[in-house]
């Protein structure tokens, strides 16, 4: 029961119990339907496209294959689907009371990922990543986390699948939001503030900027370094990479089914918050794929924080995913890998870059992007909470606020979908400061 102790059981094998047919059987891969291929990741030294061997020190082969596959559907392993079934499908709820409160003529729905055990969408990929590592014999995962949703999610997944987990958390969040650390520790993980003196990357950063509040880019450098030094360990990333977008596609696939069940022909517009891009991609890619294959006309809108506006203000170019330059070069919208965003409440949106698949989709004109001011986001969050009961995560409030602004002047009968990536229960001090 001490932090870092391996759970007494391992849980890789499927239990073989029935899983409801409403839980997706496959992940959906937008790469199969795009008119132009996603630019490859490049080796940071050679600037040549990455080979599987380049990624093997950090990732299991199951995930490396998913990173480059162009198959439209990838089967979800039985064990992963069994675990999903304890909270999936997540609800798609008609926001009747919000509609009345704001006087919209639209029909507004929210897809609520806050019902997962850690209260966000992150376990959708955490469980998959822990699974593929466990089946290839890895016993320890390292990762970074911002607000802590990802670290908590991977910790949960590791507890369920018999792995140990070590998390580097951005110093600003580590200090301001200790509850997420307690959550990780309850699942048996160890959590360090980043930058730390446990890695070369961390020590170098601390020497240059001893008072830094940290960043996701720094924490990634530390977690990658720690994994690279341990043959029994791999590294796990909660967003940005293609395989993460793939795993999150359960969200949007469920939305398509649930909208049809509600009698809707299509979502006319869907709003998702955009940090690294995983919630956004999971929510919107299945709908964009339907546009490309079947001619539906769903408009997807990425809602990013004005304080960290990679899509609306960044350059579209190859850049590193981390500060130290240890990661591959990714073609993405970036504010520069040394960009340190202000300490906004939406810690999960404080990333200098954007997922290459999301960036590519925006470049192709298949998705729009807007920047939302933090105050405006909280106004939307409080309005939502007082009408629907759920207090949205600060990240999600960016989508909520943009959707409310849109819905106020929407056409009669327009179908609006809000991606509620998580609840704000562990972000209540931010609401308190705002209210």
């Amino acid at each position: 029961m001490t932090p870092g102790a391996a759970p007494a059981h391992r849980g890789i094998e499927p239990l073989g119990h029935e899983v409801p047919s409403t839980v997706p059987t496959h992940w959906y891969n937008l790469a199969a339907d795009l008119p132009e291929p996603v630019p490859p990741h490049l080796h940071p030294g050679t600037r040549e496209p990455l080979t599987p061997a380049d990624l093997a020190p950090l990732f299991p082969m199951g995930l490396i294959e998913q990173e480059v596959t162009t198959e439209r559907y990838v089967e979800i392993p039985a064990t992963v689907r069994e675990i999903y079934s304890s909270w999936r499908p997540s609800p798609l709820v008609r926001a009747h009371r919000l509609e009345r409160a704001i006087g919209t003529r639209a029909r507004v729905y929210y897809k609520y990922e806050g019902v997962s055990p850690v209260g966000s969408h992150k376990p959708n990929t955490a469980v998959a990543q822990a699974y593929y590592n466990a089946v290839e014999g890895i016993t320890r995962l390292t990762t970074e986390t911002g607000a802590g949703q990802w670290g908590a999610s991977l910790s949960m997944a590791c507890a369920l699948l018999g792995l140990t987990c070590e998390v580097w958390q951005v110093r600003a969040s580590y200090d301001a939001k200790p509850y997420r650390r307690y959550q990780m520790e309850t699942y048996g993980s160890v959590c360090h503030p980043s930058p730390s003196d446990l890695t070369e990357a961390g020590r170098a950063i601390l020497e240059r900027t001893p008072d830094t509040t940290g960043s996701l880019g720094m924490a990634i450098s530390e977690a990658v370094e720690a994994a690279a030094k341990d043959p029994a360990a791999h590294y796990s990333l909660g967003s940005v990479l293609n395989h993460v977008m793939l795993h999150q596609s359960v969200i949007g696939q469920e939305v398509l089914v649930q909208l049809a069940e509600a009698g809707e022909k299509q979502a006319d517009v869907v709003f998702g918050c955009a940090g690294g891009g995983s919630n956004l991609a999971g929510l919107t890619f299945p709908l964009i794929g339907q546009n490309l294959r079947e001619g539906t006309t769903t408009r997807a809108v990425a809602c990013e924080p004005a304080a960290c506006p990679s899509l609306t203000q960044g350059e579209y170019r190859y850049d590193h995913g981390d500060v130290a330059g240890l990661t591959p070069l990714l073609k993405m919208h970036t504010l520069g890998n040394d960009f340190v965003p202000p300490s906004i409440h939406a810690g999960g949106l404080r990333y200098h870059g954007m997922a290459p698949m999301v960036s590519h989709v925006v470049e192709l004109g298949l998705m729009d992007a807007v920047a939302v001011d933090q105050d405006e986001a909280f106004v939307g969050g409080v309005e939502f909470a007082r009408a629907e009961g759920i207090i949205p995560a600060p990240e999600s409030t960016h989508a909520v606020a943009a959707a409310i602004a849109h819905a106020r002047t929407a056409a009669e009968g327009e179908v609006v979908v809000i991606g509620l990536s998580g609840n704000g229960v562990l972000d209540l001090p931010a609401y308190s400061a705002y209210v």
Copy 2:
């Protein structure tokens, strides 16, 4: 958007949208099926059975009628049912991975109320109570809260139904768990630590015991006094009273349907945590009613904290619900209305008495009771979290631990149901202290 400001909309009228048939249409009242009637509440002055007029200063007539009704089913108002439908039915989940972890031969299920907007079962009655007050023209509710789940739930309900809400929170929890207060404030409520200098009852307690950490009994005195002084205000109680047991019956009614859907003939044993009794009653009364009407043999087990053991150590007699003696006399298992329990983590279980209906049912031999030590409860909570992903509320861990202990030696195929009254996301410091 400031605390205490009335929401801009009122939401009493039903919206008229379709509600899934899986959301209960009626509340179930065990009083209709009991072999002996529940002893009446007595007037604190005359010791005569209470009349509706005695309760009218504090409660709306709709709830006063429910307090004494012996009808088996009470229709759920359309507005309440519409609000329920955004998170009900709550899931009944087979705990496959916990079963494997503990090696049980039983089939273990958990009924998870943590999917509600505030993460516990409390909104089931909060929404109903706010509704009946709102339709009778009340504009302000006062209440007490321990750990804060009830205060947050009533705050949410008041926000949705256009009421203002003022909460007295037990000082120990107010200081140790500020997140719940932030939650109340986000919904627009005002929260005071209790005892406070805002009421005569509070001032009297502070004079006698200036360093007290407070108790639910004290906070009730303050909230009752504040409501009694304002004709536009009523008081709202989150547990103990008969109408609260009634509203919570949605839990157990859903369990019956969900077990049948899972192919189970009956629950053989159901474990619920016991504080004031509302979660326990909601979970078990529909099953006990089925025993009485149809001859099923479900065993119901109340799981209370060893530190506040009203059912297993208290006297069964008439006692006040509060410290100051302002409330009616209730026939219940009580540790005495001046009992101040130790500051255990399960703040929601720190009440000196037990719901009269639960007490009566235990006296009739229709329910068992066990006391669970706090450490044992946390062992169960962590074991559950690392197998199933959900971190249970400290209150719920009492039921979890008792169920795990039972399941380890259960007979082949026994059906065990755990009432997971809420999640422990806002109680993570307690887990951290334990781990």
